[in-house]
Amino acid sequence: MPIKQVHSIPAHVDRIWNLAPHPTLPLLAAATSDKSAQIYSLNTYFPVAQLDGNHKRSIRSVSWKPKSGSNSEVVLATASFDGSVGIWIRDSERYVQEVGSTGDGGSIGLEEWEFVASLEGHENEVKCVDWSCDGTHLASCSRDKSVWIWEADEDNEEFECLAVLQDHTQDVKHVAWHPNEDLLASASYDDTIRLWREDDDDWVCSGEIIGHRSTVWCIDFDKATGEGEARLVSCSADETVRVWSRESITGNTAHRDIPSTFRSDPISENWQQEAILPQRHSGPIYAVSWSGQSGRIVSVGADGLLVVYQEVKTGEWVVIAEEEDAHSVFEINTAVWSRKWKSTASHGQEGDAEKAAPNPEEEEIIITGGDDGNINIWEVTFQT
């Protein structure tokens, strides 16, 4: 199945560390080594905002707060090597009309963004930040070996730290929330993945996944699992991509009112390796993404290779597309699936675009970012 590059945004001269498409809006956030984050329109691929001036070192990771219920604000979290997490909110009054296909080219600074909070506490570089599915929790992780769980107030200005989780023995590279449970996974330089959940009022480590033979760089959950099920994909410097599934949850059955520390059966999840995906990469694999739309997985890494996998039956995966030198000779740091937005946006307010449905074919794209500073947009084309 062929893969084709449909667009390339020459975003930066420097490294792009991480990319995140907004879960419901046609916006893409980029974390870069020039201490700023950029917002691009996925309708036009033009930049619409530059978030800078607040972080003192590279921004390593970006995460959008999902919109839910009364929460209508557009909120981005940024994790930086300066040891802090930044919270940014789009000014809903002042953002102006998005540049359409008017031919006058894109320009930066169309949207007004406000830096509203800096979350301090990590001892050194924050490597990753992620909002939970309903936006109530924010997780961050650092080279200081800890994972922090934060809770925001309604204005996203006051953040309370609910837990500092210190079970990892080395840097924590990545955190990811389950798509509908309040379950967090973290990946580490100590070669393990850990799972965390709330047990009464305490956040506890509910599971540990051992199997990778080197740093686990990135993890992502299966978004299509049924009630009570969970699967995740992980990629590692050991050159493998693996899928894990939760076999059972035990403990925490009786004695609901006894504090977890006194209970004999703390909550525990048993995770098993379901598959090692076909091995294509040579060198560390830096990113994986599990599509909520097609169920496909994409992986990228230091070798510049982009690989797309599809599950033919449970636990059995095949490579359906491969692209060498996807960022020329440069390493690729991030890859993520996104729904495909109309690239021929009308000239209306962006507010209209927000309501517009994606293409009827429900096509999806892969967005990758590399050391060349480019953001590349890919489509897997179907053979009929």
Binding site: S8, S58, Y189, T215, A237, P284, G304, V329, F330, E331
Partner: protein, 229 residues
């Protein structure tokens, strides 16, 4: 530094260090005329590259047959031809070899002695490997690996990571982006070999370390080249 970790290292004479002349003798080979200091070694490639890229600005018409032939090779995605591809073509004319890598890194100063890594035999030419692989069609792949194995002067040398980082930074700054750099401690020469190796090849840690001003200060001291070499 008050208490050197290794107060009494073995030192090689400058004359014993490998140079370009050693390979080519005093023949009329063009390469033999290159001075072997790090900076000079890097310049010919750079100036060639620069003149080549200015050529590119004039459009493809300005290229000789030779250049065009090389540009045919890989199927460039979406017809994009960027500088780095052309840069790797240049290297077919002027390949980067182990001696050039040695010249770049042997001149780095040791963090605690007024000597170079070459003189201390921390960096040795036989421990430098350039690995380029060919694909199924026998074409050289664009990406090559440079592996440097360092030999710490003592097995508990706590400066091994700093030295390794200095080597990595020098190579990252000097080599074209198509090179993947791997720095390892030579087997059996350090107590915590695997830890040091893992750290030195963790891209994120290296990037973060390079944003640490204090560490950068130490590194730039190490990387200041000895002009008298």
């Amino acid at each position: 530094m008050s208490e050197p970790i290794n107060a009494n290292p073995k030192v090689l004479s400058l004359d014993d260090l490998p140079t370009r002349e050693e390979i080519f003798g005093n023949s009329s080979s063009i390469k033999a005329t290159f001075p072997h200091s790090a900076l000079d070694g890097a310049f010919p490639t750079m100036s060639l590259y620069e003149s080549y890229s200015s050529l590119l600005l004039l459009g493809e018409d300005g290229l000789s047959d030779d250049d065009i032939e090389m540009k045919v090779a890989p199927e460039l995605s979406s017809g994009e031809s960027d500088v780095s591809d052309d840069q790797s073509d240049i290297e077919e004319h002027e390949p980067i070899d182990e001696q050039e890598i040695y010249d770049l890194i042997s001149t780095i100063s040791d963090p605690e002695h007024p000597l170079t890594l070459g003189q201390l035999a921390v960096v040795n030419k036989p421990d430098i490997y350039i690995v380029s692989t060919k694909d199924a069609n026998g074409r050289h792949q664009k990406i090559s690996r440079v592996i440097v194995e360092i030999t710490p002067t003592i097995t508990h040398c706590s400066l091994a990571t700093l030295i390794g980082l200095g080597i990595r930074v020098r190579l990252e700054r000097c080599l074209p982006p198509r090179f993947r750099i791997e720095i390892r401690v030579k087997q059996g020469t350090h107590q915590s070999e695997s830890q040091v190796n893992k750290q030195l090849n963790d891209k994120e840690r290296v990037a973060a370390a390079c944003e640490n001003q204090q560490l950068l200060g130490v590194l730039s001291g190490m990387l200041a080249t000895f002009l008298y070499l």
